[in-house]
Amino acid sequence: MVKFSCEKIDLVFAEIAKTAALYIPSNDKNNKAVFTKWQKGTKLCDSHNTQIGPKDLFFPQTEDLMAFKASNKKIEIIDTRKESEDFVIFGVRACDVKSLEILDRVFLSEPRDSYYAMRREHGIIISLACTRPSEACFCTTFGIAPSEPGADISVWKINNEFFWQANTKRGEELLLKIEHFTTPAEPSEVEGEKQRISVLMKRLPLANLSTNGFGKGKTNELFEREEWAKLSEACLGCGTCTFVCPTCQCYDIKDFNTGNGVIRYRCWDSCMYSDFTKMAHGNNRNTRKERFRQRFMHKLVYFPENNNGLFGCVGCGRCISKCPVSMNIVKVMKKLGGNV
């Protein structure tokens, strides 16, 4: 473990940015934190979590998959994939670190998604222990410790110092690059902060939310519950929850005719949309209730069923603060799980 004083953070960022694109949470013009490509003058915002997680740095909202040229009856397929550049993301919270593990289960399972895999191999993740969790946070429900954020390097900000702990070989190599800014530190120096964060988490409004009643094998018990009708009534089907969700990964594949060929691209999609499952012979989820139920059943039952009990939610709270009608996974869990 190493440490350095907070004034040096821009120097450290500059050093990292010499060899890799660096993304840090920074306030945009609306004062909302977003992962921003660092350049001289980009100010770190470490007080609250970003509007959306780092999902799009690995799984962009839209990306080209391939291109085609067609002439007469012939088609040429053009592999447009490019080697990803090396990049570093700083300031990823424990919930978002966990979200990447969930995305990995989808995209890195065979057959691997090469677009995602390439970015995962080239991206180094520097996490950041939460200093001020929001009222909507409930990561501890899913066994996530915001005081132990993990990834390649774990970072704690304590008073006027940053403490960096490498967890992987890539993390160690990165620490070597910035060693002239750092001095050695002892893990014991962050113990107090870890304790402070743990206490803070226990005081949050959703601290007692439990996953009891959810998980693998609960499909039959939960699917026909009558509460779904009431819960889904308010839903507008806008899909905001899926777009801000760090673990939602449903996608669409579409073709775009450029006039000079065709680009096949992929873009985020949402199971909340009425045409998501619509096909020529009908739609197997015709009602809002069915679509609403699918999203939560997937995160709380189906995903754990396929992934040794790992839930498809990390409790980041973004869907809670962003839903225009204040419907969210916590309300679903409280209603169907019967906990407070």
């Binding site: 592999d79 499909t219 990964q249 998501f276 020529a280 189906y302």
Partner: protein, 277 residues
């Protein structure tokens, strides 16, 4: 750059034959530009076909894996991609990727058993692959019964092959039916589920169903009324798909993805899933 194989990037296929089967179904023969089969498959598996600029869609491979020369797809005109396919000319290139999905257990559960195939309309397309596979390895299976129904005589898919080849095989019985009487039809008239009941099959066999959801539902009831257990009945599902490899989320039902855990399901497995397919 080709560090990894990428499942989403297709191969080129050439349409070398187009057979007009019914007023809205055509069967397309596809090979690679150098005249080979695009890939090997198992009975019941599917492939993604596309026309760049129009879109990509999943189709069952109707030809048997024992055909080593080419693949065939029987496709009903019902949407953007299928309309385009129906308008294409011989020699047109398309893209193809696959094979996708879990096949019928032809070499395990089906082995040594008598088989009852029941299809409705274009639902014969996925079953033709397994029927022809079982006909090819005839000695591996017991008696084969085929019940096939359609709206009219003109809507019967593979009619020539059924009448001239299947019906003449030893130990193969074909029962055709159409929904409404027609002048030039002296065969059975009526819906498939009722016909299955009338035929009163012994339940010492495995049944394989494919057709419109409503036909599957009532035929399942008919088979159970004849004493069949859900464990003896297989079907193949169709849901909207984009990736074909269990990632895009579209064909998710319960903890299953129809593209990779299906499309073939045994009916007792299907009853475990939420009723959303």
């Amino acid at each position: 750059m080709n560090i990894y194989e990428e499942a989403l990037i297709p191969k080129i296929g050439v349409v070398t034959d187009i057979r007009i089967d019914t007023p809205d179904i055509k069967t397309f023969r596809v090979v690679t530009p150098d005249g080979k089969k695009a890939f090997e498959h198992q009975p019941g598996q599917c492939a993604m076909l596309s026309i760049p600029g129009v879109g990509e869609a999943m189709f069952s491979i109707t030809s048997s894996p024992t055909n080593k020369d080419f693949m065939e797809f029987s496709i009903k005109k019902c949407g953007c991609v299928t309309e385009w396919l129906h308008s294409l000319e011989l020699g047109q290139e398309i893209t193809i990727r696959g094979p996708y999905g879990k096949p019928f257990p032809v070499d395990t559960d089906f082995s040594g058993k008598s088989l009852l195939f029941i299809a409705g309309g274009v639902g014969l397309a996925p079953l033709r692959s397994v029927i022809n596979y079982c006909r090819h390895y005839r000695d591996r299976y017991g008696k084969i019964d085929i019940v096939y129904g359609s709206r009219s005589k003109e809507d019967l898919l593979d009619y020539k092959e059924i009448v001239e080849e299947w019906a003449n095989d030893n130990g193969v019985n074909v029962y055709l039916t159409i929904d409404n009487p027609q002048k030039e039809w002296d065969g059975h008239v009526g819906f498939v589920p009722n016909y299955v009941k009338e035929l009163n099959f012994d339940r010492d066999k495995i049944a394989v169903l494919c057709g419109p959801p409503i036909m599957i539902k009532f035929t399942l009831d008919a088979l159970q009324a004849l004493g069949f257990d859900k464990k003896q009945i297989y079907t193949t599902l169709e849901l909207r798909m984009k990736c074909g490899i269990g990632k895009c989320g579209r064909c998710n039902v319960g903890a299953k993805y129809v593209c990779k855990d299906g499309p073939v399901f045994r009916c007792d497995e299907l009853s475990e899933l939420p009723d959303e397919y």
